[in-house]
């Protein structure tokens, strides 16, 4: 077994790896950046969640590769008939990691669960402000308003009482932000006067424990032998922090890492040709678009918006910028989502017709507009500026002079939501897989007002009626019909030029066994093995 692995490696890997100790099973993941810290409760980026989810366990988990909720630290749970009381029965004998500062004296129990909640919930908790008081996911999920009480029934039973019934509550506890930290460790560090150590030198009860972290260079984990789910198949897990996508690929090619996220679209051809690498792919829950500000001239005229839609060559954008990491978008929701309307036809690319339509709308000599592009790469848009350049060139052909504008990212989003633009690129990644999360959040009247996330500022009564109604009915078939109709109206009214849905691509080396893509775009390595 060991010998064959060595042979395999020597065949494909140059000097680099041969000199390395090859006794333990090591999996190297070329991650895209450094985590913010090791406390998931205040993290917001997938990068940080990836680094943290290896260390911590949660009450419940998502089954790897699906959105199904399965037991975690809680072996089982009861939900009261009215849906407001959740009783979790905790697993016994769950061990904590240890490090130089801390040796645990007890197993995980109800106190730890309550600590994890209260740290994010109650300002009176001494840890509320440690590292940061901004528990953004906890707040975003509506927990402060939802939770009434969290009580310890006995050492291994915890009871959550909610203010109202909330079906996604269970799934929320499976999200990374709900990772459970050791209260004993927290108390010890508080006593020692170094509470922030809890978030920098983490103690969890997850499948891997942290051995070493060097910012911008490496995160080194080891499999935790006493993990409650059984020791991981691999012995060492290494995150080799490599921000540059081309470099990640070079390392994967050389065998310096086994799994990499976010390949550079330009490298994909070469990656697919490499026989040592498999590219796993799955359409993501996202959309990238160009929104027309429908409250501003000339985009209050649907003919202008349609003319723009026909003037821009979507296929060329996909070919040049997304390459094979994206599929052209017709509807505002991704095709993998239920209620996606397949019968909607996209506006054809037709500069001649566009020119004519523009003339009809009263602009025979073209017009001038701005064209906003995000300064940063986003999951749904690999390079907004390059897309803007292509759009600019296409629009010039129908006599439209577009000026590309960009702001610093936070500023960009804020200004776009305030409606300062004429046309602006943006996008969205879904949280829970519900069409309401796209159609209502991004295009409904309620979010068009003020600084809402409807940056087309598009409030169209017939559309809004449909999506509002769909939210209130519970039967999925009925909701589907309503959403399908809404998509037809969306296309007719063209508040957006829908650009693309990006595809989640994960080049993985052949020796990696059973790596599964997460629908949430995360990377979990418990359960993965290596030849």
């Amino acid at each position: 077994m060991l010998k064959s692995r060595l042979l395999l490696l020597s065949a494909i890997v140059p000097a680099m790896l041969l000199t390395a100790p090859a006794s333990a099973k090591t999996l190297v993941y070329c991650s895209e950046g450094s985590p913010e810290n090791f406390y998931p409760g205040i993290n917001t980026t997938g990068t940080s969640f990836d680094a943290n989810s290896q260390i911590y366990s949660r009450l419940v988990d998502f089954e790897r590769g699906t959105t199904k909720v399965i037991p975690g630290l809680a072996e089982k749970w009861d939900i009261s008939a009215d849906g407001t009381v959740y009783t979790f029965y905790l697993r016994k004998g769950v061990k904590w990691h240890s490090n130089a500062n801390f040796k645990p004296t007890r197993d995980m129990n109800a106190d730890d669960i309550i600590f994890a909640i209260e740290r994010q919930w109650k300002e009176s908790n001494p840890y509320f402000k440690v590292t940061s008081a901004n528990h953004s996911y906890f707040t975003d999920m509506g927990m402060p308003k939802l939770l009434k009480t969290v009580e310890k029934v006995d050492d291994y039973t915890v009871k959550f009482t909610l203010n109202s019934a909330e079906a996604p509550f269970l799934a929320n506890q499976a999200m990374e932000y709900a990772g459970i930290q050791s209260k004993e460790y927290a108390d010890a560090m508080l006593k020692a006067g170094t509470p922030e150590k809890v978030d920098q030198e983490p103690i969890g009860s997850g499948p891997f424990f942290l051995v070493q972290y060097q910012k911008d260079a490496i995160i080194r984990y080891k499999a935790f032998p006493q993990f409650w789910g059984g020791k991981a198949s691999i012995d060492d897990l290494i995150f080799s922090i490599t921000p540059d996508a081309s470099v990640r690929w070079a390392k994967l090619q050389k065998g310096e890492c086994h799994v990499m996220p976010y390949p550079n679209p330009a490298d994909l051809d070469a990656i697919r040709k490499d026989t040592n690498v498999t590219v796993l792919e799955q359409p993501g829950l996202n959309i990238g678009y160009l929104a027309y500000n429908t409250t501003k001239k000339p985009f209050d005229d649907v003919r202008v918006r349609k003319a723009f839609n026909m003037a821009m060559n979507k296929q060329a954008i996909i070919d040049a910028v997304y390459l094979s990491t994206g599929v052209a978008a017709t509807n505002p929701i991704p095709p993998t989502m239920w209620s996606y309307n397949k019968t909607v036809k996209d506006d054809p690319y037709n500069p001649e017709a566009a020119k004519k339509l523009l003339a009809e709308a009263g602009f025979p000599n073209g017009l001038e507009t701005d064209l906003w592009a995000m300064p940063v790469q986003r999951p749904y848009n690999p390079n907004a500026k390059r897309i803007a350049e292509l759009m600019q060139a296409d629009l010039a052909k129908i006599g439209v002079k577009a000026e590309i504008k960009s702001f610093e990212w936070g500023e960009y989003r804020k200004r776009a939501q305030a409606g300062e633009h004429q046309t602006a690129q943006l996008g969205w990644t879904g949280d829970n897989g519900d069409p309401d999360n796209f159609l209502n959040t991004l295009l409904g009247c309620s979010s068009a007002a003020g600084n809402g996330s409807n940056i087309a500022k598009w409030c169209h009564k017939p559309f809004d009626d449909l999506v509002v109604k769909a939210k209130s009915v519970s039967e999925q078939a009925q909701r589907t019909a309503l959403y399908e109709q809404a998509q037809v109206i969306f296309k007719e009214q063209a508040p957006w030029f829908t650009i693309a849905h990006s595809v989640q691509l994960k080049p993985v080396r052949k020796e990696v066994i059973d790596f599964k893509l997460s629908p949430f775009g995360r990377h979990t390595f418990y359960g993965v093995d290596i030849k």
Partner: protein, 302 residues
Amino acid sequence: MTNNAATSTQNVRRGAPAHPFFEFNAYFRKNTGAVIGLWIIIGLLVVAVTADFIAPYSPILTDSKAFLKPPVWQAGGSWAHLLGTDAIGRDMLSRLIHGTRLSLLIGFTVISISIVVGTTLGLVAGFYRGILEIAIMRLMDIILTLPSLLLAIVIVAILGPGVSNALLAVAIVLLPHYVRIARAAVIAETSKDYVTAAKVSGAGSIRLMIKEILPNCMAPLIVQATLGISTAILDAAALGFLGLGAQPPTPEWGTMLADAREFVLRAWWVVTFPGLMILITVLAFNLLGDGLRDALDPKLKS
């Protein structure tokens, strides 16, 4: 090139005590490197001025049928795009040509700003001395203490990315050199008789600075300016490379390089040519600056 240099030197050789200009000219001609630098700069200037006519395409025209085409001499290249195309089908040659115009413009503008502001501050500091001098010189010390690129980055971060802001940032970073030269010249000159004489005869201080002192520190200023242009071009390109300078689709060389980084593994031409242009241009100005210094600096003439 050498022919040309040889024939025109003949005119200068005769007559024993040469006019300072001819003397300078003779020294300069002897320096092959400087002459080469000068000719390259002239060539670049011609390209920059005629960019609109000689560039085969518009620098921002995209062609969806020709993404990342290699140069003509490589398999897959064509005569339509001599140096190939970039990631969204723009002609490399045209972008390089227009980039020349932009880079030279950046270089000359930065230097103009630095010289005007720098010498003014230097003259003021040297002439009035006292608290004003201390304030100005301390500020220059601070600018000199911080690594130039770091300071430029911070300035651009404040003003926002873009050609004009990058230009301003580089100009500020280069200021201290000119302030120091001008101040040193003023201090040295004010002790001389002719300035005292002018003062006695009632010349106003501003007139005095401009008419009497400034011309006497021209030589080091010119040398510093020529070398400064190369620094300016280099720093502006570095800012562009870090995404803080000119913004796409502007065909600025540093920005082009930043844009091309992700293609390092599969399209060498989008990476190689812009950098080569930066190198050639900067080298030309440095050659010329070195030559000028040798020719103007009497200490090295012996």
